[in-house]
C-alpha cells in the first residue's frame, strides 16, 4: 500500500518507519495494543495476525500515514519496525544475495558504499542491485507487512537463512578487504541479536544467535599472520572469545530444552561441543557423531554426511569414515570438499600417497584462495615430508 502510494520502495520504507513510530505513540491512546513490540511479536507468533490484517487495522494504518509528516523518525533500530522490514527484505522473491544486500541496507546500518566494498563490487553496481531488489518487492504489491500465519514459519526460515548467509559472507572470507567483510559478520550478529530480543521464545532464532556467537568466537584463531586458514585442530584455543562462547552455550542449552529442536540449534550444539573442548583429541566426538546424525536426518544434506564422516572417523577410526564417504560419490560427484575430507582421512589412515592425490584434487576444485593454499601446503607435506 505504502509502496504503491509513493511509487518508490525507499520512500515507502521511510514512510512505513514513520508510520510505525506514529503507531507506537497513537495505538495506546486508541486502545489497540499496549506495547507495539509485544504486538508485532505476537503477530509474528501468529496470534493476532487476523486482527492486523483486518480492514479496521488497515484503515487505522492509512490514517497514520496521513499524519506521518508530523512525526519525528527517531531511531528506527530501537523499534520493531526493523522486525517488519527484516521480514520484508527476506522475501522469497529475492535471490539470497539480493536479500542479504537489501537487509544490510534497509535494516542494518550499512551504506551502499560499505556494502559494495564488502562484496567487492563497484558502488554503482551495488546501488543497481539494491534498486532492482526494491523494484522486485514493489511489484509484489505491498511486501512490507508481516507474513500471514500460514506463511510465517517459511518466512522466518528465510530470515534466518539470510542472516546466516550474511554472517558467513563475512566470516568465511579471508581474502580481499577483510575489515569490510568482518563488518558483515558484526552486522549479522547485531541483527540476529535484535531478532532474538524481538522473538525471545523462538528456539531456532536463539539457535542461530548461539551458532553465530560460537562460530565468531573462534575468529581470532582461525587465520594466521598472513591471512592463511588455520584448521580447528591447529587453532590456539586460548585466543577464542570465552565470553561469546559462554553466551552461545547458555543460549543453545536453553533453546534445546524447549523441545522443538531445529537445524540451527543442532549446528549451534555442534559448535558448542567444539568450543568447550580443550583440544581436538579431547573433543567429545561421540556426541558430535550423534548430533551430526540428527542433523543429517533432519536436513538430508550430503554436506552434513561429509561432516558426520569426520566425526565417525574420530570415534571408530579413519576406515569407518572412508566407508561412509564412499556413499557420497553419487551425491557429491567431483565435489572438492569430498576430496578434501577423503584426503584428510587417508592421511590419518597412513596412506600419504593417495591422500596427496585427493588433496590436490580438492585444491584444483576450490574457488577459495585461502583453502587452496592450505591444501597445497598439505600436499607438499605429504609428498615431501616437510612440515608446513
Amino acid at each position: 500500500m505504502l509502496v504503491r502510494r509513493s511509487g518508490d520502495l525507499a520512500d515507502a520504507q521511510d514512510a512505513l518507519q514513520d508510520a510505525l513510530l506514529a503507531a507506537t505513540t497513537q495505538w495506546p491512546a486508541q486502545g489497540v495494543p499496549d506495547n507495539p513490540r509485544a504486538w508485532l511479536v505476537v503477530v509474528g507468533q501468529n496470534k493476532l495476525v487476523d486482527r492486523y490484517r483486518s480492514e479496521e487495522a488497515r484503515r487505522r494504518r492509512e490514517e497514520l500515514v496521513g499524519t506521518m509528516e508530523a512525526v519525528d523518525a527517531g531511531d528506527a533500530f530501537e523499534t520493531d519496525d526493523s522486525l517488519l522490514l527484516l521480514f520484508g527484505c527476506c522475501h522469497p522473491a529475492l535471490s539470497p544475495a539480493s536479500a542479504v544486500a537489501l537487509t544490510l541496507r534497509s535494516v542494518g546500518g550499512l551504506t551502499t558504499a560499505e556494502i559494495a566494498r564488502a562484496f567487492l563490487v563497484p558502488e554503482a553496481t551495488m546501488a543497481q542491485r539494491l534498486s532492482r531488489a526494491r523494484r522486485t518487492l514493489r511489484d509484489l504489491d505491498g511486501p512490507f507487512r508481516m507474513p500471514s500465519a500460514q506463511d510465517y514459519p517459511a518466512r522466518l526460515r528465510a530470515v534466518l537463512r539470510v542472516l546466516y548467509l550474511m554472517f558467513n559472507e563475512g566470516y568465511a572470507s579471508t581474502t580481499g578487504t577483510s575489515v569490510a567483510r568482518a563488518d558483515l559478520s558484526a552486522e549479522a550478529l547485531r541483527l540476529t541479536r535484535t531478532l532474538h530480543e524481538s522473538l525471545p521464545d523462538d528456539p531456532e532464532v536463539a539457535g542461530l544467535l548461539a551458532l553465530v556467537l560460537l562460530t565468531d568466537a573462534r575468529r581470532p584463531a582461525r587465520t594466521g599472520p598472513r591471512g592463511e586458514l588455520v584448521s580447528l585442530t591447529d587453532q590456539d584455543r586460548g585466543l577464542w572469545d570465552r565470553a561469546m562462547v559462554d553466551e552461545g552455550v547458555a543460549l543453545v542449552e536453553d533453546a534445546l530444552v524447549r523441545g522443538s529442536v531445529g537445524e540451527y540449534q543442532l549446528q549451534a550444539a555442534i559448535a558448542a561441543v567444539h568450543d568447550e573442548a580443550p583440544s581436538t583429541d579431547a573433543t567429545d566426538w561421540p556426541q558430535l557423531l550423534a548430533l551430526y546424525g540428527l542433523l543429517e536426518r533432519m536436513t538430508g544434506n550430503p554436506m552434513v554426511t561429509l561432516n558426520r564422516a569426520v566425526a565417525l572417523a574420530m570415534v571408530r577410526g579413519p576406515d569407518a569414515g572412508l566407508a561412509l564417504l564412499a556413499t557420497l560419490d553419487d551425491r557429491l560427484p567431483g565435489h572438492h570438499r569430498l576430496a578434501a575430507v577423503r584426503g584428510h582421512l587417508m592421511d590419518r589412515a597412513g596412506r600419504p600417497g593417495e591422500a596427496a592425490d585427493q588433496l590436490l584434487l580438492a585444491a584444483r576444485g576450490t574457488t577459495s584462495l585461502a583453502e587452496r593454499d592450505y591444501l597445497l601446503v598439505q600436499v607438499a607435506r605429504l609428498r615431501h615430508g616437510s612440515a608446513s
Partner: protein, 131 residues
Amino acid sequence: MKYMLLMNYFIEGVPPIDQWAPEDVQRHIQFQHDLGAELVANGEFVDGQGLAWPATAKLVRSDGVSDPVVTDGPFPESKEFLAGYWTVDVEDEARAIAIAAKASAAPGPGGAPIQQVFEVRALMEAPAPVE
C-alpha cells in the same frame, strides 16, 4: 560468484578490427558500451577493460639478478592474446556463461556475430560455509 570473461584477440575467419568498415567499428563499439551499461543496470558489473593492441605488448623475463629481458611484440608464434575482459558478479556459472555468450555474438563486419571465443573463469573467493 565472481567470474572473469576473458576475450581472445584472435577470431577465426574475421579480420582484425582495424580492417573493418567505419560503421562496423561504430556498431561494435556501441555494442560493447551497451553491454557494459546493461551489466551495471543488472547489478552484475564489477570491472571491464579492453587491452591495447598486442603489437604494443612487451614480454618481460627476469632471474631477479641480471637486467630483465624485455621483448617487443608482436609474437607471431602465438595466437593466444587477451583482448580484454569483463568481471561480473552473478548468481551462478550459468549466468556468467549467458553473458559470455552474448558478448561472443558481438557484431562484426556487416553486423554478423563475430563469435569471439570467451574463457569463463571463476575468481577465487570465500569458501562455502562449513562447520
